[in-house]
């Protein structure tokens, strides 16, 4: 993890830009006709967005392992349950 001074932008700024981009992409992907792959992509992008918020907004990238695992597990669990429910529809 490079120290902030080495990057032209703060990590949280980079994350913010990424979130804006990923949100727009998800929105576009979801606008068109449906398709399992597209929806899976939207879900995956959502989990990535969530992880960005957790790591760089909440600041958990600096925090002890067990908390990072807990939050990652939460995202995985929610994503997994959603994926499961959609797969049986």
């Amino acid at each position: 993890m490079k120290s902030p001074a080495a990057l032209p932008f703060k990590p949280c700024t980079v994350s913010w830009a990424a979130l804006l981009v990923l949100t727009t992409i998800s929105f576009e992907l979801g606008s068109d006709a449906s398709g399992r792959m597209l929806m899976a992509a939207v879900l995956a992008l959502t989990l990535i967005k969530g992880q960005l918020v957790v790591s760089h907004f909440m600041g958990l990238h600096r925090v002890r392992l067990e908390w990072r695992i807990a939050m990652a597990a939460y995202l995985a669990a929610v994503g997994g349950v959603i994926a499961l429910a959609y797969s049986i529809s």
Binding site: M1, S3, P4, A5, K10, C12, T13, S15, W16, L19, L20, T23, T24, S26, F27, L29, G30, S31, S34, M39, V42, L43, L45, T46, K49, G50, V53, V54, H56, F57, M58, G59, L60, H61, R62, V63, R64, L65, W67, A70, Y74, A77, V78, V81, I82, L84, A85, Y86, I88, S89
Partner: protein, 193 residues
């Protein structure tokens, strides 16, 4: 800033630990709601797909961009106070509050349009979930804004410093949770079909 390199990955959760218990509890509740939505949908796929078309997805997109940006402002506020700049911290928080207020306004306008269209808790199962989830989230945005307002006032009054700003991190963590929940909610309810 290089001090950060030496404490990588060993710090405790930011802010007061009690708020994190609350955050985990809230995430659990929303997680259960999301799961309920997804499984309810699996039994009524056509209904959900059809009713979902009644949503104005542009409102949802706007709200996501607003909330993500306000979360970014809060992250910047935390960085400011870590550098000891409490007025700057106050400004970033004020900005976040402004965006939060915009979120609420957009959401209210959306609700207004929804009700005019006949969307209600009793209309159908999708509408019930959509209204419950977004209203429940709305209330959390309000609560988050109350917390941020209290923190912002204290920041402007110079009550936080680089050495002592637990309150800022506590309030910030709660707000980020509200943002995180919305990110999932938006994708689940507005987008994925």
């Amino acid at each position: 800033m290089n001090a950060e390199a030496s404490v990588i990955r060993t710090q405790p959760l930011p802010g007061d630990f009690a708020i994190w218990i609350f955050i985990f509890a809230e995430l659990t509740v929303f997680g259960v709601l999301f799961a309920a939505y997804a499984f309810a949908r699996s039994a009524h796929v056509d209904l959900f797909n059809a009713a979902q078309l009644g949503l104005n997805r542009v409102y949802g997109l706007a709200n996501t961009l607003l909330l993500v940006t306000s979360s970014y402002f809060v992250a910047r506020a935390t960085l400011s106070i870590k550098a000891g700049r409490s007025t700057a911290c106050g400004h970033w928080l004020a900005g976040a509050l402004g965006l939060g207020a915009c979120f609420l306004a957009v959401k209210l306008a959306e609700f207004h349009q929804d009700f005019a269209q006949g969307i209600s808790l009793s209309a159908n199962l999708f509408d019930m979930f959509y209204l419950s989830l977004t209203f429940f989230h709305f209330m959390h945005v309000v609560m988050g804004m109350v917390i941020l307002a209290v923190v912002a006032r204290k920041a402007y009054a110079g009550r936080y410093s680089a050495a002592d700003h637990t309150g800022v991190e506590t309030g910030a963590s709660y707000w980020h949770m509200v943002d995180l929940v919305w990110i999932i909610l938006f994708a689940l309810v507005y987008v994925i079909h």
